[in-house]
Symmetry: C2
Subunit: 435 residues, 2 copies
C-alpha cells in the first residue's frame, strides 16, 4: 500500500477558518435510508410477536428456530461459553467489571427533601427503571467490554430486569459476550438482532416481556428502530462512528501518539483521529510513525482508510489556541498528552471523556479505567454525556402544601390560571380557599 496523505492544517494560515469549518461539517456516516423497512418490521413484530421475530431471524441471521424459547440463551450455554474463554481474559473482564462498578457507584443521585422559607415541602426522589434492554451487535463488533459498559450502570442503578439481545448470524456467537453478560448479571439473553429485536424489547412478544428503556449500539437498522420506538420506551443516544482528538506538546512521544490515533482509526473506516499540536517537529514525527505502525496492523486496511479520509493534523501557534478548536470539535475522546493537562482541562467545554497526560492512552478508558466508554459521538458532546447511572434512574418531584401554604401561594396560581385561560386550574385552587 502507498503511504497516506493526511489532512494538514495550520491555525495561522489565511484559509484556516474555512478549512477547519469544513472539517467540522464533514459527514462521516452514510445515511442509509432504511426507515421504511424498519417501520414495516416494527409494525409486524408489534402485531405478530414471536412469530415475526422468528421469521426475520431466519431471514436476516440465517438462524432457524421453531420457537422463541430456542433463541433464549440457557444457563448451560453460558457455562459452556465460559469454558471457552482463557482464564487471563476472564480475569481481565472481572477487573474491568469491578472498576466500572466502583466508579459508577459514585454516580447514584441523592434524593432531596426540604422545606422552603414559607413552609412548602419540596423534593426529588430517584427510582430505577424497572426493565432495560441492552442491544449488543453480532459479528466483528460484538464486544464484551461494551456489554459491561451498558449493563453495569443499570445494575448499579438498581434495574431489576436486564434483557440482552445479541444476534448470532449463522449461529456464531462470541463466547466473550456471554461471559461478560454473566459477570455483569444480565437477567435474560436472546439471540436476536436488528429492528426485530428492538421491536421485541419495546412492544414485548408472547415470550419477551417489554422493557422500559433500550440502550446499546447497533447498525443503521437498529439506530432507525431505536429512533422510532423512542417514546414507547426510552433510548440512549444514537451512536455514531468513534473519534479521538489528541492534543500533544513537544514532550510527547510520537510513537505513543501515533498508536493512540491508530487505536481509534482501526475501529471503522469512518472513525476519525485528529492531532493538534504546537510542535511542527512532533507533527512530522507522528505522521511518520502512523505510517510505520499502519504497516504492522492486522486491521491496516480499516485504519488506513480512516486516517486517510478523516484523519487530520492541525498545527497551532500555541496550545491555548488548541482548546477553542477542541471545544468546537466536541470530540468523543480527548487526550491531553501534555506536561500540564490540568491547565488545559479547565478550558474543556465540550468532550465526552478526557484522558490526562502522557500515560493515559484512550484504550485504558475503553476497558479498565472504570469510567464509561459509551460516549457522545459526532459532536454531540455539545449537548450530551456518556452513559452513566443517571440513564437508568428517573426522578419524581414532590410538592406538599398545607392549608396555610395554599393561602399564601394560591392567589398567584389563580391569577396565572386565569391569565392563561385555564379556569379549571384556577378553580382547583380557589375551591380550597373558599373563594
Amino acid at each position: 500500500m502507498e503511504s497516506c496523505v493526511v489532512l494538514r492544517l495550520t491555525n495561522t494560515s489565511a484559509d484556516f477558518e474555512a478549512r477547519f469549518a469544513e472539517l467540522l461539517a464533514g459527514k462521516r456516516e452514510a445515511s442509509e435510508d432504511v426507515d421504511q423497512i424498519v417501520r414495516d418490521i416494527l409494525e409486524d413484530v408489534r402485531k405478530r410477536g414471536d412469530q415475526a421475530v422468528l421469521e426475520y431471524t431466519a431471514k436476516f441471521d440465517r438462524l432457524n428456530a421453531v420457537e422463541m424459547g430456542d433463541l433464549k440463551v440457557s444457563a448451560e450455554q453460558i457455562e459452556a461459553a465460559l469454558t471457552e474463554v482463557p482464564a487471563e481474559t476472564l480475569d481481565a473482564l472481572q477487573l474491568a467489571h469491578d472498576r466500572i462498578y466502583s466508579h459508577h457507584k459514585r454516580q447514584l443521585p441523592a434524593d432531596d427533601r426540604y422545606t422552603d422559607p414559607i413552609g412548602v415541602e419540596l423534593g426529588s426522589r430517584w427510582t430505577a427503571v424497572e426493565a432495560v434492554g441492552v442491544y449488543v451487535p453480532g459479528g466483528l463488533a460484538s464486544y464484551p467490554s461494551s456489554v459491561l459498559m451498558n449493563v453495569v450502570p443499570a445494575k448499579v442503578a438498581g434495574v431489576e430486569r436486564i434483557v440482552m439481545v445479541v444476534p448470532s448470524p449463522d449461529d456464531v456467537l462470541n463466547p466473550l459476550v456471554l461471559a461478560a453478560a454473566k459477570i455483569a448479571g444480565v437477567s435474560e439473553i436472546y439471540r436476536i438482532g436488528g429492528a426485530q429485536a428492538v421491536a421485541a424489547l419495546a412492544f414485548g412478544t408472547q415470550t419477551i416481556k417489554p422493557v422500559a428503556k433500550i440502550v446499546g449500539p447497533g447498525n443503521a437498522f437498529v439506530a432507525a428502530a431505536k429512533r422510532r420506538v423512542f417514546g414507547t420506551v426510552g433510548i440512549d443516544m444514537i451512536a455514531g462512528p468513534s473519534e479521538v482528538l489528541v492534543i500533544a506538546d513537544k514532550y510527547s512521544n510520537p510513537d505513543w501518539i501515533a498508536a493512540d490515533l491508530l487505536a481509534q482509526a482501526e475501529h471503522d473506516p469512518v472513525a476519525q483521529s485528529i492531532l493538534i499540536t504546537d510542535d511542527a517537529e512532533l507533527a512530522d514525527h507522528v505522521a511518520g510513525a502512523v505510517e510505520r505502525q499502519l504497516k504492522t496492523l492486522p486491521r491496516e486496511e480499516v485504519a488506513r482508510a480512516s486516517w486517510q479520509d478523516f484523519g487530520a493534523i492541525i498545527l497551532v501557534d500555541s496550545l491555548d489556541n488548541a482548546m477553542p478548536l477542541a471545544n468546537r470539535l466536541a470530540p468523543e475522546h480527548l487526550e491531553l498528552a501534555v506536561e500540564d493537562p490540568e491547565q488545559l482541562l479547565d478550558k474543556v467545554r465540550n468532550a465526552g471523556a478526557v484522558f490526562m497526560g502522557h500515560h493515559t492512552p484512550e484504550a485504558i478508558g475503553d476497558y479498565v479505567g472504570g469510567s464509561n466508554h459509551v460516549l457522545p459521538t459526532a459532536r454531540s458532546a455539545r449537548f450530551s454525556s456518556g452513559l452513566s447511572v443517571l440513564e437508568f434512574v428517573k426522578r419524581t418531584s414532590i410538592l406538599k402544601c398545607n392549608a396555610e401554604n395554599l393561602r399564601a401561594l394560591g392567589p398567584a396560581a389563580i391569577a396565572l390560571g386565569e391569565a392563561e385561560g385555564l379556569s379549571a386550574h384556577a378553580r382547583s385552587v380557589s375551591i380550597r380557599l373558599n373563594m
Copy 2:
C-alpha cells in the same frame, strides 16, 4: 349537553385486569403522519436558510416579513408587551420565576474528582450546554408559565444563549409570553414556529446561529421535526397530552377532587383524568361533582370530551392496591389526596410529580410550587423524568494514569484489546510499557 358516562372499574371484578390493561394500552394521540412534510421543510431550511423560513412563515402563519430581522422581537416590542400585562399578573409571574429558580438551584450537579485505591485519578466535570432553543407554541396553548419552566432551568445551568421561537399566526402574539421571556432572561426571540423554526434552531440560518439543544412542546409538526433533528442537536422528551391520576381516601372533599380532575381535562380533549379511591361513596360524589362543575366551565366542551372519552374512576378494595395500578399507569401528575400521603409516597415507582395531601392541587405545581411542570407523559415516567437543570448540562469524564498505574492496569487492557481483535488498542498500551 348530556351528562358524561365515565369509565368505572372495580379492582375486585373478574374482568378488572383485562379492562385495566385496555385502559393502559389506550392511545390518546392521533399519530398524524406529517413526517414526509417535515422532512422536506427541514431540508429546505437547511439549504436555503432565512429565505425558506420566511416563506413557510408567510404560508403557515400568514405573516409576511421581508427579512428575518423583521421576525426578531425587539427590546421595544418586549417593553410594549410588558405595559399590556396587569401588575397582578406580572407579580405572579415574578413569584413563579423566583420559586422555580430557587428550587432548580438545588439540582445543579456537583463535579467529582478522586483517586482510587491504586492511585488512578478519576472524575466527572459538568458544564452547561452553550446555546439552547426554546420552542413556545402560539395560539391558545401559548403559556407564559411554560416559558418560565423551560427557560429557568437553562439559566440556572449557566446556558449563555437562550433562543426562544414562538409563532405569531396572523400577527397575534401573547404579551404574557414576552413578559415571561423577559423575566426569565431569554437572549433572543423570533416569531417563527413549526418545523421551520426547529430547523432554523438546529441547522442555523444566515440570521439565527444554531443551538446545541432544543426544548419545549409543540404540535405534531414540531414533534416530528424534533425527532428528526435529534442527533444534530439534543432534544427534550416528545410531549404528549397531559394526564393526572388522583388517589383519594374517604377524607377527601369530592368537590376539590372533581376540580382537580377537570383542571387536567380542560387542557385537551385527549387529556386524561383518573381517580382511584377505596371509598365507593366518594367515587359517586366525585362523579356528580364533575358533572356539576363541568357545566360552569368556560372550556366545558374540551373538558367534557376528555372526561367522557378518557376519564376513569377506579374503585379499589384497599389503597395499598392502588399503588401497583398507579405505577403501571406511570402518570405525569399523581395526587395523593389522602390523610397519610407519606406512606403511599414510599410505594411510588413511576410518576412525573407527586402532589401530597389534600391541600396540594396539581395546579399549584403548574405555576408557583417551584418544581417543574414539564413532566413525562404517556407512561414515559417509567423511563424518564421531568425537565431539570440536568437537561442543560453535560458531563465530561476524566481519567488520569501515571506510569505506575499504567503498569498495573495495562496488561488487562492489552488482554481485552487482543481478545476483541483490536490490536491497535492493545498496542497503544503496550508501546508505553516497552512491551
